[in-house]
């Protein structure tokens, strides 16, 4: 049994026999196309408006992150992980820290775990907010929803700056805890942002959720079946929109996620509209988690005292650590040979693997649909090309 789909579509007429038949038009979308979210290219073959072939082309932002990491020590790899998915640097830090902690068997203090959850969920909020803004932009709303989304994202970035010193390249986590403790007043400020966030979600929903144009453009577009989603390894909101109940916060309960009560929103049709709605609903759940975490955060140390950050040498062995990043399952596979540098450092990028089904989603659709389908996948090229 194989669910590999046949990737050819019958042409409307055969050009060898029919003299009036349209010829295939080969279009290169990207790497400078405004809707490609960076330097992503698709080789598209069109029959009229219809897509009959689509091959993604990667590598325009390739810098061999994994090779760079092999020449760094374990601490030196941390700031490089910020640059993978540069929208959510904190969850990248977390995944890497988790992998090193699994490799070396490090325990993380309570307060650090709570700070990780708080910053991680804030990252999810700002990632999803900017994604739905971008998606609307791709659909042609010329800025308004994107600006509203960015206005909210800005407030969260200010919190990150107050905590870590940087808005996007946070470099916040360390194996065994977090780098700095929350400064005075930070938690109160965060509480304010969290309390105000549902209001933004309500506004955003009434702005567009029932908009007839949005529904016509997104419903039934870019469908992925549940079986294909599992087989193609889709994770995160992409998989959950197709009805795959797989959220690593529930499945692995890494960190302290088993202490929070939250629901996992699931889609039914796996189309662009579902992916859009899943993200809106996930933000509401994130707000719930944040409220619980803010209520329960204890005081105490933020670093495991037994962990040496400089000159850190884990025992020889290997470990795979994964977390539920906003875009899907972000995993780090590390092999240690007992020296100070990782022998092998592998990133499992959710954006790249979610693109596996891009061709299946686009075949038979119009050119304009490619743009919103790609937008709904939520890719960041820093992570796709590494």
């Amino acid at each position: 049994m194989s669910v590999l789909t046949e990737t050819t579509v019958a042409l409307s007429s055969d050009p060898t026999t029919d003299p009036n038949a349209s010829q295939l038009l080969e279009v290169s979308m990207g790497p400078q196309h405004p809707s490609t979210h960076g330097v992503f290219r698709m080789d598209v073959a069109l029959d009229g408006e219809q897509v009959v072939k689509l091959k993604p082309v990667f590598g325009y932002l390739h810098r061999n992150h994994e090779k760079i990491a092999e020449s760094q020590n374990y601490l030196g790899c941390m700031p490089y992980t910020d640059r993978l998915d540069y929208i959510c640097s904190i969850t990248n830090n977390w995944a890497y820290a988790l992998a090193v902690e699994t490799l070396a068997g490090i325990k993380v203090p309570e307060r650090a775990e709570y700070l990780r959850v708080i910053t991680g969920e804030l990252t999810r909020l700002q990632n999803h907010a900017s994604l739905i803004g971008f998606l609307m932009q791709d659909m042609g709303t010329s800025g308004t929803p994107l600006m509203y989304a960015f206005r909210e994202r800005e407030k969260i970035l200010d919190l990150f700056e107050a905590l870590t010193g940087a808005r996007m390249m946070c470099n916040y986590m360390r194996f065994g805890g977090c780098r700095v403790d929350a400064p005075a007043g930070w938690l109160q400020q965060t509480q304010k942002v969290i309390d105000a966030f549902p209001k933004f979600l309500d506004e955003f929903e009434s702005l567009l959720r029932t908009n007839e144009i949005l529904m016509a453009r997104t419903q039934g577009v870019g469908r992925v079946s549940r079986e294909l989603a599992i087989n193609a390894g889709l994770t995160g909101p992409m998989a959950r929109a197709s009805g795959v109940n797989y959220d690593l916060r529930k499945v692995d309960s890494y960190g302290i996620y088993d202490r929070f009560s939250f629901r996992v929103p699931l889609g039914e049709f796996g189309d662009v509209y579902d992916r859009y709605m899943i993200r809106l609903l996930e933000m509401r759940e994130s707000v719930e988690i944040l409220k619980q975490a803010m209520r329960d955060i204890p005081s105490g140390p933020i670093m495991d005292p037994g962990t040496k950050i400089r000159g850190f040498r884990p025992k020889a062995g290997e470990a795979y650590g994964r977390i539920e990043a906003p875009k899907g399952e972000l995993g780090f596979y590390l092999i240690s040979d007992g020296t100070g540098n990782p022998y092998r450092f592998r990133v499992r990028p959710p954006s790249l693997i979610n693109l596996t089904v891009l061709e299946d989603m686009c075949l038979g659709r119009n050119v304009a649909d490619i743009v919103i389908i790609l937008g709904s996948v939520d890719i960041v090229l820093g992570e796709v090309d590494r």
Partner: protein
């Protein structure tokens, strides 16, 4: 379900396959299963469809380069030297590595279990670098196997579209190999020091500059 049980279940159902558990001594204790490449596809499809653990989700696929490494171990051996029995250190040199490895992290979304880690090894690092592709079983391996082909040079038989993924067409080497040599396309580095300075100087003297 532990790895021992999975191993014996596979052995009972896939005749002739050679499996070996590769222990992991680090605290993570994620042991892996080495599969011979001749039976790998059968084993994998059994794990996906037939086994008690239905590993329907292939999360991570990656390559590792293990160049030939000489490990010398010292052992004390009793030897008769000039008619007297003495303890003599004998150095035994063994060679390890000399192959490329593909690692698959498999999970079960249905039963929420995992990971089961499968490994496959090529025969050497130069020309016998073929391994069976798992892309017909799990499509998530598609881009990742292409990436391994690109960066490590493992050729996956049965892959529907095996092209370079990140490097461009016409690129010759495999950058993730441990013995990869960077091309000499050095320009200018203001704070060059140590190794970088040496290479920058070499480059500049080759160009006749400075």
């Amino acid at each position: 379900m532990n790895l021992e049980a999975i191993k014996s279940e596979i052995e009972a159902n896939v005749p002739g396959c050679q499996l070996e558990i590769i222990p992991n001594t680090s605290p993570s204790a994620q042991h892996s299963l080495l599969v011979d490449s001749a039976h790998a596809l059968t084993v994998a499809s059994f794990l996906r469809d037939g086994a008690t653990v239905r590993l329907d989700y292939c999360s991570n696929v990656t390559g590792i380069d293990w160049p030939v490494k000489e490990v010398s171990t010292k052992t004390k051996v009793k030897k008769i030297v000039d008619g007297v029995e003495k303890d003599v250190d004998e150095v035994v040199k063994t060679q390890t590595g000399g192959y490329l490895e593909a690692v698959y992290h498999l999970y079960s979304m249905e039963q929420r279990q995992g990971p089961v880690i499968l490994r496959m090894r090529t025969e050497d690092r130069t020309d016998r670098v073929h391994l069976p592709s798992f892309t017909p079983l799990w499509r998530s391996a598609d881009f990742q196997e292409r990436e391994i082909f690109d960066l490590f040079g493992i050729i996956f038989d049965g892959h529907p579209d095996l092209r370079r993924l990140l490097m461009w067409e016409g690129f010759v080497d495999h950058p993730m190999r441990r013995d990869y040599v960077d091309p000499d396309d050095y320009e200018y580095e203001p704070t060059a020091h140590d190794e970088v300075l040496k290479r920058a100087r070499e480059h500049q003297s080759a160009e006749g500059g400075l």
